[in-house]
Amino acid sequence: MKLRNVSKEELYRCSYGCAGCASVLAVRLTLKVLGRNSVFVVPANCISTVSCYYPQAPFFVPMTVMAFAATGAALCGISAGFKRRGREDIHVVGFSGDGGTADIGIQSLSGAIDSGYKFIYICYDNEAYMNTGIQRSGLTPYGATTSTTPSPCFENRPKKDMMRIVAAHDIPYAATACTSYPLDYMQKVEKASKVNGPTYIHVLAPCPTGWGFPPERTIEIGRMAVESGMWQLMEFEGGEFRITHTPRRRRPVAEYFEAQARFRHLRLEEIEAIQREIDASR
């Protein structure tokens, strides 16, 4: 895939997303790869909230709103139905947030991967329950404040490792991505679309409203997440993990933290401890 070949067609437009919303960007990029031959399942999350109130209809492909905990099961049912109708060519896509994936929807996701049906489950991760007002989720990183982990009681547990969780299901294909690396993301979506089985893509989607940075810095913040090592771009395929992008220069995590309101309360020694942990994991 080359950037100049990316479709100019916008199959998702006119949402009520916040300025600088990377989750909206993730939907657009996904549809640029998959095109009109795809259907979307969107559970309770920011995207359904900013897209799915009648008579608004920003999706130009078929989509359904789904109950919070039910994305994986809906993907199975739809995929089974299309299989019965000889339409396995249609991409069945789940578009769920971090809470909908790692918390309330994790059981259904586990069952869905286990079922073996063909679908692409995309977790767009803005690291908290944003549409209900920035409450912590299982994917809120250690050290972040949210409306349910206010300073000084910041989130005291690490982000759940969804990649290892889905890999433990022996999933045929899984990947992490970030909206600040669109080509890398789109290549992974394309790869997933060619797998005849369950696939999972976890895309980090910086949230200006919830993370506390100006909307024009969304792309920059995503890059900082990857350059600092707070987020890694990788694939899981054939039972192996593989890093798909290694930053040319390593950025101190302090710079990433300083750029966002949610980490401002962290003391120097706490930041240094996080930095040491990142360095040790490399």
């Binding site: 009109r36 031959n37 795809s38 259907v39 399942v41 359904s48 897209s51 799915c52 109130y53 009648y54 008579p55 209809a57 999706f59 130009f60 492909v61 078929p62 989509m63 359904t64 709103v65 789904m66 109950a67 905990a69 039910a70 994986g72 099961a73 809906a74 993907l75 199975c76 049912g77 739809i78 995929s79 089974a80 139905g81 299309f82 299989k83 019965r84 109708r85 339409r87 249609i90 059981q107 259904s108 586990s110 069952g111 869905a112 286990d114 079922s115 049906y117």
Partner: protein, 392 residues
Amino acid sequence: MPGKAPVKKYITANEAVAHAARLARVEVIAAYPITPQTSIVEKLASFIASGEMDADFIKVESEHSALTACMGARMAGVRAFTSTSSQGLEYMHEMLAYSSGGRYPLVMANVCRSVALPWSIWGDQQDAIQQRDTGWIQLFTETAQEALDMVLQAYRIAEDHRILLPVMICLDGFIQSHTEELVEIPDQESVDAFLPPYDPVVTLDVDDPHSISVGGFGKHYAAWRKEQQEAAERAKEVIVEVGDEFARIFGRHYGGLIEAYRIEGAQAVLLTMGALVGTAREVVDEMRAEGKAVGLIKVRAFRPFPAEELRQALSQVKAAAVLDRDCSYGYEGALATDLKAALYGLANPPAVLGFIGGLGGADVPPERMRYMLERALSVKKGAPSSAEFIDL
């Protein structure tokens, strides 16, 4: 009757329900094990394994997912089936309301069982009754044959474009689910003549994209809910219509929303739902033979509620004894409450005596039914009633 002669077999109601799903040409099954439902989906799995049925069996990890997967199959334009009981039905609760509000024509068999705590795997109807307000059409059956026949009818009712609501066929745990009866299994040709292929109104169609099952503010939300209520009310006619057509093809008729049994000139009438109707029939026969003016009403449709039919049937009756296998704690049995509401405003309404029994699989022997009818015969017109637990 078209087609070859139907097969008669001694089978349980669970097996009968599995035959119905097979004959309905269900293409997607998603189910999770729970007693006393499990033998339905085991049988369906064996039909698929032996090639008697061509369907996908989705191995889900919970009932919540089972119902969701069935909804997903419907979104893809394919007929689906699931069944459950008790805790499983409760675990589905969110998706019950979700699917009815989304107007998905799902069909599910619920093998009625008590709910925990206290733990009990045995039968009563608390599970189904607790889902009363989720927007599902709830039809109760008495026999294995009726369970089979009603699953077939349920697909016609649910998928009717005037209705588009999910239908729950209730059968009583163990009394029906695990008891063999002689059942006539219809032939495929006759079922095909009765039940045409699924004709969905809207699907996830890439050539005609729609956002479906979306949200609505204020007036839109209210307008859709009013449409849902109108469809549920309309279902009263469609249930009767489908039952009549079924009778024309298969020769079995169950009486529409209610079946009134020997209520001509009755002073006291017993009302109940499900398998206990069988015992009640015998008790009414015995008491009639003794010259006592008693009758029976089998309530087949719990939602939509047959208020008008009950008003008419009970307009000349002195007292109605209601046997509920459920309790709305802090009030009374649900059927008793709904009956009283239906009778409100009637010039000369019967007294309503509420009884709660058959809980947690407790046997309700004929003498208990006789007791309820005797109480109703001796009650003073309009006398207040309460929820009396008859198992103790």
